[in-house]
Subunit: 150 residues, 2 copies
Amino acid sequence: MQISRKADYAIRALIYVAAINGRRTCSINEIAENEKIPREYLAKILKELTQKGFLISYKGVNGGYRMAKSREGISFLDILEATQGPFVLSSCNQDYKDEPGCKGKDACASFDFWDELHRKLKGIMAEMNLGKINYDKYYQFADTKDKVTT
Amino acid sequence: MQISRKADYAIRALIYVAAINGRRTCSINEIAENEKIPREYLAKILKELTQKGFLISYKGVNGGYRMAKSREGISFLDILEATQGPFVLSSCNQDYKDEPGCKGKDACASFDFWDELHRKLKGIMAEMNLGKINYDKYYQFADTKDKVTT
C-alpha cells in the first residue's frame, strides 16, 4: 500500500513551497535540487499541480511557483487523489458489478467492513493537511533561511 | 493504494471460514467456489495462512480448514501484513537512509507528518477485525445455511 513515486514527489514539492509560504516564488531548479527530484519529472508534476489548483505559476525572471491555497487547505488526500486518482482500498470501493465473485453489497458480509474501513482511512487522510507540519525544522540545516540555491 | 489481489483473496477466504465459525471444517473447494477464487492460488494462500497461525488445517474425509483464532483476534492489519509484508506508506516508514533526497528525520519537515499519518492509518487497520462483520448477511441468499456445495 505504498504511495506512488509521483504522489511522493508531489507531496515533497508542495511541502517545500508551503515552507516558503508566499514570501517569494520557488523555482523548479531549487525544488529539484533540495528535494532531489529529477527536474523533468518534477516539471510535469508542478504543471499538473498548477492545473489542479494547488500552485500558481509565475513566468519571467523571478518566475516560479507559489501556493494557490493555504497550507490548511491542502490535505494528504487531496494530493494523493490529484496524483493517483480516487482513493480505493479494494474492489469493493469501486463499481463492484465487474468483480468476479462479487455478491453485491446486500448479500456480502464484508461490504460493510470494507465500507467502514475505507471511510475511516479516507477520513484520516483528509484530516492530515500541510498546516500540520512543523516548518521550523526545514531551516535547521540550511545555509540560508530561504534555501535559495539558484 | 489498493490492496494486492493476494490480500483481497486472503481476507475473503478468512471471512468465509469465520462465518462458519467452527461449526465444521471448510474445504478448499467450497471456499474457491463461493468466493470465486482460483483454486490453485487459494490453496497456496490457505497454506500460508495456516503456517502463520490464522487457520488450522485438517486432513482426511472431513478435512478442511477452521479458524485458529477468534474473529476478534484477526485484524485487517494482521491479514494485510501476513500477505503483503509490513505496512508502509512512504519511504519515510522504511530505512530512510537509502532514499535519495532524504535529509534524515531530524532535518526533515515532513517526517513527523508521515510518522503521524502512518501511525493513525495503522491504528485504524489494527482496530478493524473480523469480529466487526455482520455474518447474518452471509446466509441471506444461500440455499442452505452452511452453504455446503461439495
